[in-house]
């Protein structure tokens, strides 16, 4: 049985004409991607990365998802892609994130002034496997929180595979020194993490 390739589209036709017609059919103009297409492509590539980045940064997955969605909403409403969309998205998401955190911390200060005391008085975890994993998570969280903001963000962006150019642009750094700064940030993180084993 012939496949679709051999089925004429417009009934019977002389071989030469049919050949020309098929040739024409193959030469359909290539569709230029619209802004919407490019947005979808960018979203699919970067939503998970940005979301994971902010989740690791904040430890709040819902907040991370909300903020990243909002950044993409802003991008869509912009109607065109910026020159460096990845760096743009990181910057916008970070600004939104900071705004939310600032508002929230202000509210928290007003409403629950004793919150930090509650955190200190949390009971120690019971000794089983699940708790060991939880303990590791807490140490990672602690090590991340203790890093200076710039190092923390660099480390997390690099872990998500962002290019040095994007990292430099988003964090306002000299691109030529991103590698060395990353190496230092990684060492600082590891040191803090290892030291936390001795912590109560």
């Amino acid at each position: 049985m012939d496949g679709p390739e051999s089925v004429p589209c417009h009934g019977k036709a002389p071989a030469g004409l049919f050949a020309r017609r098929r040739e024409g059919a193959c030469a359909l103009p290539k569709r230029v991607p619209t802004f919407h297409d490019r947005f979808v492509e960018l979203f699919d590539a970067h939503f998970p990365r940005l979301c994971r980045y902010l989740d690791r940064l904040s430890g709040e997955p819902d907040l991370a998802a909300d903020v990243v969605q909002e950044a993409f909403v802003k991008l869509y409403r912009r109607g065109s892609l910026p020159d460096a969309p990845e760096a743009w998205l990181i910057s916008v998401a970070m600004n939104l994130f900071r705004n939310v955190k600032t508002t929230r911390s202000r509210r928290r200060r007003l409403l629950t002034p004793a919150r930090s005391e509650w955190s200190l008085s949390d009971p120690p975890p019971p000794p089983d496997e699940a708790v060991t994993a939880e303990s590791s998570r807490r140490r990672v969280r602690l090590a991340l929180d203790q890093l200076p903001d710039r190092e923390r963000r660099m480390l997390l962006l690099q872990a998500e595979g962002y290019s040095y150019r994007d990292i430099a642009e988003a964090l306002d750094l000299n691109e030529a020194s991103v590698g060395a700064l990353l190496a230092r940030a990684r060492r600082a993180f590891r040191k803090t993490y290892e030291e936390s084993f001795g912590a109560p």
Partner: protein, 245 residues
Amino acid sequence: MHLDEEQVQRHLDRELTESAETSAREHLAACADCRRRVAEAEEEMNEVHGLLRLVDHPMPAIRAEAVAARARWHDSAWLRRAAGILLAVGIGGAVYAAPGSPVRGWVHAMVKRIGYRAEQVTPTPMRGPDSRIAGIAVDPGLKLVILFTSPQAAGEAKVSLTDGTEVVVRAPLGVATFTSGVDQLVIDNRGSLASFEIQIPRAAPWVEIRVAGGSLFLKAGAQITTNQPVEPQAPYIFPLKAPGS
């Protein structure tokens, strides 16, 4: 020459240029010390990435189409709000302007209640040779309507353009009451047969003279619109009848 920290990290992250990468590979092939440093850095990087994964949460299932739809909804919501406001303003204006509408009375009562008081001015004798002439001077602002409340059976408005900064209206003492409000100077001339002298600054952007709602004279910028034949340089003189009567 050994690889520095920047080069080692860039090599691991594939951020070296093609030629720099070639040079780095050549060096690594010959230098055990740098190979060891690269291996240690790679191990450390993998370890750190593994640790970071410990704090990950499940990724939310959000589709690009849903976010795009939200962005479009944002825009259309804004447009809907703007359209709603315009519609409300339009309806409010129509209700306010409808003949016999009680809304005008309510609005005026409310305005009075919240403290707005139109500046009520009774013509005071102006300094001049004739003490029987009274008048008012107001700043034309961006727009000023001089409104005669009633058409007159006799009497006229004599309008001249001046180099001054204020609109000046003069009339014989006691023939009218002047009320100056926002963008408006109301001349209550009921029962009057007198003539009024009006001076308008050339620099005033927009001044209109209306008699009982009909437009008699309009100065918009440098352009003058009237329904009366005028002579250049001469004052504009209009009977204070309602236009069209």
